[in-house]
Amino acid sequence: MADYINDKELEELNEIYEQKRQNQKHPKKAKAEKAQKPDKPQKAPKPEKAQKPDKSNKSDKPEPQDAPSDKEKKLNRAHIISIIVSASLLFVTAIALVVIPRPTESALEKRKLAAFPEFSWDKYWSGEYTEEISEFYNDTVPLRDSFKELGAAFRSLFGISFGNEQIVGSVGDTSIGDETKVTTASTKPIVIVTPPPKDDSSPDVSSDVETPAPSKTDKPDKSTAPDETTPPDETTAPDETTTPAETTTPAETTAPEFHTPSDPDAEVLMQAGFNIVYNSNGVLHAGMLYSGNRENAQYFAATVDGLRRRINADLYFMPILTQNTFVTPSELNRGVYTELTDSQYLINVLGDRAKIIDTYKTLAAHADEDIYFLRDVHWQQLGAYYAMSDFAKAAGVEYPPLDSYTCRTRDCLGSTYTFTQFDALAGAYEDFTYYIPSNEFTVEYYDENYENPFEYPLMPENDYRANGFYSLFMVAENYIKHITTDADTDRTLVILADDYISAAVPCLTSSFKEIYVIDVRHCTFNAADFINEHGATDVLLAMTVSNALGDVGSYLDYLQ
């Protein structure tokens, strides 16, 4: 091998050998040196940064190499601690979510929570089974109500807050810009005199042409307000075939001194979709803005007509007016039309397809009473009682006076809190007054297929919960109820409705021998056949205008 190595190469080899030997003696130092000068050992980089620690630490060890290593160690340790902390938190929470018992119902939302699904291969292959497991897991988190409140509190930070009150805007700001949709829409006088339309376009034209939006300066003074106070029955269709509503609406009711609610200083505190929380006249209000779509009126009317043709009973339709008409300041209205204008529109479109129970006039006469909740979307039973008096008159049945009921008042927490999770609503209880009928009756509850009946009180007071107060009226909307009364009549009433009607049913126990209450959203059978099979003499179709002109109205079609 020596033949192939000259002196210079040998010298280099020796140098390498020597270096290796040194490395074995001081491996740390060698490693550091290697890192410092890998290519050009004669031009070692100036360890400027590394020299600084030398001044403070006069150790023999080469500090330039130790300092970064120490830093790296610290950094690595920090990463490991970070992983341990994060992983511990994740695993502890994961185990806690499995071990801690899961709630089955929510006191806050007043509903039963999702249940663990039953397995079937069909459900599995469609993805429904796994979806329901996810739903169960997410819906039944332990302490869910507390977490939801915490989430709501966090969301409330998104707006500007002064003290305990969240100031997020003033409705008075609507004066900025053009006065068109928001403020003028609700101040439209209700002067609709068109007969039932013959085509799709005519109702719009008529209402738009004949109900011109007054300018702000034209807005009538509250003391006079001639247009706004025009009783709606003057506006109903003067059809040749006089509708029962016109004949039965109590003429003796005095013209209401009622004006479209208005409060330019109303202060919106929170809005999520159509849910709204606001201050009006220093009182905290909450509710749901009107959201009906009058384009659905023709469809709804056709559906009602279809139902009428299939049943052997008198059909009544009651568009239920909510707090949107009587409480919510008109300045907050979101759409072009209001609940009141749309209810009149719907009545016109329906024409004689059903006997109309227009409760506007009656309710307006009592608008200064507590007929609606301040912070719940429903009406008080008092409002329902007044509204049902119109129906009783139209149907020609007995209707007991208010003082025949046992009246009780309790605290309640409005459902708007559930929908908005707005903090200020959490403790904002209000009075809930209900009326227990004095006559005798029994109530059977059925499931959505009209099966599995059981008896239970009409108004189970023992189950009362302040944050689920509306369940006092016939437990839950998904049950079909059959009430058998001691009323001295042979008439049978079937009610097809949404949940507003629940408060009104106790007012009818002296009026009909049998009453069936069906929430159209929770019915799986043919309602028309049901009506005929059960010998109904009267059918009351009652729902809010929003629902009639929205999805709920379409359920009727399905039920036929």
Binding site: L89, T130, N138, V141, R155, V168, D178, K181
Partner: protein
């Protein structure tokens, strides 16, 4: 299954991590096995007592769990670490995909099998015409599957409209989740194989793992095979990787749950639940700005979670977003927005001379048509793609040098206007509403300048909007720059961990009862 879901965060992810990082040390393995079996038995009692599952069914579930634990334990015992980890990832990826739509797992497997065979054939016939033929067949198969599931309904609807026919239209929900993403990954694999840029994957399970890897399976980013080719066979996760991966997951989750979800409430209030025609000029602009940010935080949040999960598992995915809203022009915007899609079209469509010498403009048109169409089978997406293509073409014609001479304020205003209006086109799938939207922007519908609902909404969300605007900016890089050496220190890691845990917990709280929480790009 989606990332922003408690079941994913607190069941799927921890279990997957536990199996993935199962130590090779015998003692740990024994402890893990015993713990797993104990947990499975415990699940029986929990299921029967708390979940009201029948004892018979729960017994079967527990037996399956025990067998699963033993299977993983044996795999860990006998296989090399990377092989074991790949098996874990494949199993969990298939469970992840099957959770949403079990049937489509078979489509995914068939697709992988076909493309595995195609890759092998391309390699075998390399340099011959047969390789080109195989590539063409594979591309036709992949694009055919995508077209079949995603676009057939669109074409039939248009044919029905044009020819006044009444051909049956397949339902919209027939599309497998994430088909656009995994199809594009497969296409990139096949083309790169054909071009010889990558070595063909001879192990079908590794190819399956690449395609089905759950972090990027259903909503991207579109990870090229070449990016993770080496990591599929051999990868390591250092503590820094895992720690930073976890931080990235938390940030992504926060973007989705805290920002995007709440922005969607604003958008829904203004655009979906109200009367669009009555919305004011200010409200329309406010809504579309909120929507632009919602899409950004939604999609970039998903990408962050995907990149973070990949990092935890030892993969280094490319970035998919680089603060797109700071772009000075539209060309730059698309270099920062959905980078994996942009680079896919650039590499596989723009630079391929389909139209010969005139490719510059025609290819550009094709690329932006495809970009729009890829997002959805609807005309508004096509308009959206061509809209951006138009501005990019204009910018090309002006040239980079001239563009740079334009004052920054002008370029920023121009780019933001184009981007934001673009998101309006993206939102309104109904073209009549899109027309109303355009009218609203300039008050052409007789709509007022402001309306109370928009003002209320702005006020009640002003801090959220401010936070979102700040988060659109490169805050973290700026912060790191300001902190200098401190950003590489342990103190920074501790601070980041604390912040990320806070974000994770708050996101979890906001997810309680939030069952309908899909990402916007989920169905693309």
């Amino acid at each position: 299954m989606v990332f922003a879901d408690l079941l994913f965060l607190y069941v799927f992810m921890p279990v997957c991590f536990a199996f993935y990082f199962l130590s090779k040390k015998t003692l740990y393995r024994m402890v893990f096995l015993i713990a797993s079996v104990a947990a499975s038995i415990g699940a029986y009692f929990l299921g029967t007592s708390l979940l009201d599952v029948t004892p018979e069914r729960m017994l079967w579930i527990s037996i399956v769990l025990v067998l699963l634990c033993i299977a993983f334990w044996l795999l860990n015992l006998f296989f090399d670490r990377n092989i074991y980890r790949n098996i874990v990832l494949i199993v969990f990826s298939l469970i992840f995909y099957a959770w949403g739509e079990p049937v489509w797992v078979f489509l995914l497997l068939i697709s992988v099998a076909v493309n595995y065979a195609a890759g092998m054939l391309i390699d075998r016939f390399r340099g011959k015409k047969s390789a080109t033929a195989v590539t063409a067949v594979a591309l036709i198969f992949n694009i055919g599957v995508l077209m079949g599931f995603k676009y057939v309904g669109f074409f039939i609807k248009n044919i029905n409209a044009i020819a006044s026919l009444d051909l049956p239209v397949p339902p919209d929900d027939l599309m497998p989740i994430g088909i656009s993403f995994f199809t594009f990954q497969i296409i990139s694999y096949i083309i790169d194989c054909y071009w010889g840029k990558i070595q063909v994957q001879r192990n079908p399970f590794k190819l399956l793992m690449y395609i089905s890897l759950f972090p990027q399976l259903i909503a991207g980013p579109i990870v090229r095979y070449s990016t993770i080719e080496n990591q599929i066979s051999e990868r390591t996760s250092t503590p820094a990787d895992i720690s930073e991966g976890i931080a990235r997951i938390c940030i992504g989750l926060g973007k989705k749950v805290i920002l995007a979800n709440n922005l969607s409430t604003i958008v829904d209030t203004l655009f979906a639940s109200g009367d669009l025609g009555a919305l004011s000029v200010t409200g329309t602009w406010y809504g579309v700005i909120a929507y632009a940010m919602q899409v950004y935080f939604d999609f970039s949040g998903y990408s962050d979670i995907a990149i973070g999960l990949g990092r935890v598992f030892g993969f280094k995915f490319d970035e998919n977003f680089r603060h797109p809203f700071i772009s000075k022009n539209i060309t730059e915007f698309w270099q920062r927005w959905h980078i994996s899609l942009g680079s896919f079209f650039r590499d596989y469509l723009l630079y391929v001379p389909i139209f010969g010498k005139r490719r510059q403009y025609l290819n550009l048109f094709l690329v932006w048509f495809c970009t729009g169409f890829w997002h959805g089978a609807n005309w508004n997406y096509i308009i959206w793609g061509l809209y951006f293509g138009f501005f990019i073409l204009i910018e090309r014609m002006i040239g980079n040098k001239r563009l740079k001479k334009i004052p920054l304020a002008v370029t920023h205003i121009y780019s933001k206007l184009v981007i934001i209006i673009g998101f309006g086109i993206f939102y309104f799938t109904d073209l009549s509403k899109l027309g109303i939207f355009f009218g609203n922007l300039i008050g052409a519908n007789g709509n007022p300048l402001v309306d109370s609902v928009s003002l209320m909404n702005m006020s009640s969300n002003c801090l959220l909007i401010l936070l979102c605007l700040i988060c659109c900016l490169p805050v973290i890089p700026w912060l790191k720059k300001k902190l200098g050496e401190l950003s590489k220190s342990d103190i920074y890691v501790y601070g980041r961990t604390a912040a990320c845990i806070a974000i994770f917990l708050m996101s979890s709280i906001l997810l309680v009862n939030a069952t309908d929480n899909p990402f916007i790009y989920w169905h693309f």
